[in-house]
């Protein structure tokens, strides 16, 4: 796509001021890095990293039938979601394949915000429109909604200083609260894509530069780009839509069945039940390489010369100081500790199947031991 067709976030000028290396991502011109991927990665794990996430989409469903509609669209448990609660889950196609991974926020009895990936907003909106009740209002408010993530051990204190210690202490994992920061209204959720204590801030787009500058001025905060965002989530074993999960893979194959609530009807459920009965031939697992050498997406997973899988995400882990990633692998070879060889036909990288998170942090958000929970 020509560079002039790429969309710019409201913080584009701020990124240039910080000497960011800008790259295309999902139709947007985004900061890949500022000071360096490893430096930013470690800063988010040790202090607090700030992320411009404007590119993600925010879709609102409102009305008396909104709850019923949302429950039919996503795999998350909705019936017992009280306002202020949010959950991770999926929208599935007729084959049980993943249309998108998302987080559902219950704003009130009749209002939901669904946060979706940048590259799939259009597809998601069209799918929802096809399946909602006539009385339910669906509004794509992505252009009006800014999103900034702050992640890292210092983020609790920082948000407490800005939004009030009492308010911030109320926000438990996978919960959110409306707060005011320097007169700016913010939906503050305790969610994130790094595995660290952290928050996602949703607020009106006109405040974006002021909010960014205010947060950046806090002690211990540094900007972090998409390069480190990717290595941070990969160390946690979190899937990236388009790499590890897509329309051709179901949550069962992606080892994410815990985010599917089977005790209700939802689009894609019949296909999933069928697959549950038959079992899955390949499953998504983590791997850690034996050396600093990395394997990349599309490397084959082999054992004894036989192909038994494919790498979907691969990079160097700054914390483990080894290659790491995720791969689909034959169910029979998926046991943790299994030795495999990852290869692109030229390079061979020895690795072991590993449980996620691939990196365990001693100060890791305490409720976060086994990955995002529904």
């Amino acid at each position: 796509m020509p560079i002039n067709d790429l969309k710019k976030t409201p913080l584009y000028e701020e990124h240039l001021k910080l000497n960011a290396k800008m790259v295309p991502f999902a139709g947007w011109l985004m900061p890949l890095q500022y000071t360096g991927i490893i430096d930013e990665h470690m800063h988010a794990r040790e202090k607090a990293g700030l992320f411009d996430i404007f590119h993600m989409g925010e879709l609102f469903l409102r009305g008396p039938a909104a709850a019923k509609d949302v429950a039919g669209l996503v795999t998350c448990r909705i019936y017992d979601m009280h306002p202020g609660r949010c959950r991770y889950g999926f929208m599935l196609n007729d084959k049980g394949g993943i249309i998108d991974d998302l987080i559902v926020f219950r704003i009130s009895e009749e209002e939901f915000m669904i946060v979706v990936n940048a590259g799939t907003v259009g597809k998601d909106e069209a799918w929802m429109r096809k399946h909602i009740s006539p009385g339910t209002e669906l509004a794509n408010e992505s252009a009006e909604t800014a999103k900034i993530d702050i992640q890292g051990p210092l983020s609790g204190k920082i948000m407490g200083d800005l939004a009030g210690q009492q308010a911030v202490e109320q926000v438990r994992k996978y919960h959110f609260l409306n707060v005011e920061i320097s007169g700016m209204p913010v939906l503050l959720s305790r969610t994130g894509y790094t595995g660290e204590l952290g928050y996602e801030l949703f607020f009106p787009v006109e405040y974006a530069p002021d909010m960014w500058k205010l947060l950046l001025a806090q002690e211990g905060v540094k900007p972090v780009g998409l390069g480190a965002r990717d290595t941070l989530r990969m160390e946690m074993g979190y899937s990236l839509y388009g790499n590890d999960i897509d329309e051709k893979h179901t949550p069962l194959e992606a080892n994410l069945a815990r985010f599917v609530f089977f005790e209700k009807d939802f689009l894609g459920k019949p296909a999933l039940l069928k697959q549950q009965g038959k079992g899955v031939s390949r499953v998504l697992k983590g791997f850690i390489c034996d050396s600093r050498r990395s394997a990349r997406s599309h490397f084959k997973v082999t054992s004894g010369g036989k192909e038994i899988g494919e790498v979907t995400s691969g990079a160097f882990s700054p914390c483990l100081k080894r290659g790491m990633g995720l791969c689909y692998i034959d169910s029979g070879s998926a046991k943790e500790g299994t030795g495999v060889t990852l290869t692109d036909g030229k390079v061979e990288v020895a690795a072991r199947v590993a449980a996620i998170p691939l990196y365990r942090h001693k100060t890791q958000d305490p409720r976060h031991r086994t990955g995002k929970k529904s």
Binding site: T231, R292, S294, R296, F316
Partner: protein, 128 residues
């Protein structure tokens, strides 16, 4: 900024001649383009290489790059410090970030390499 005493290739390798031996590395431009270097596959000692053949591999967070031999010769030393600390290439690409030392078999090949001014012009032209 671009050291005057070195010679350069279009693939952004540099050479420092010391008698009949060539010390080889990658330029500041190359390390900056690659980002944080995470792994270096050093050549074997005694490996024979022809000019422009594959000599080593350097990996960064996202991608791998092949390093090509600027001159034909035999590898006589490698910078083993890069095994544990490949980031040295980012920090000091012309100095402690050297990759290997080659005993040169055809010194006239130096004529095909760019001097500092030519490399600087080459960089400016490719950035347009």
């Amino acid at each position: 900024m671009i050291p005057k005493d070195l010679r350069y290739t279009k693939e952004h390798e540099w050479v420092r001649m010391e008698g009949e031996e060539a010390v080889i590395g990658i330029t500041d431009h190359a390390q900056s383009e690659m980002g944080d270097i995470t792994f270096v596959e050093l050549p074997q000692i005694d490996k024979e290489v022809k000019q422009s053949a594959g000599l080593a591999t350097v990996e960064s967070i996202k991608a791998a790059s092949d390093i090509y031999a600027p001159l034909s010769g035999r590898v006589i030393a490698v910078n083993e410090a890069l095994e544990g600390s490949p980031e040295v290439i980012n920090q000091a690409p012309y100095d402690t970030g050297w990759i290997c030392r080659v005993s040169v078999t055809n010194p006239s090949e130096m004529d095909s390499l760019m001097d500092a001014d030519a490399y600087e012009q080459y960089l400016e032209a490719s950035e347009k």
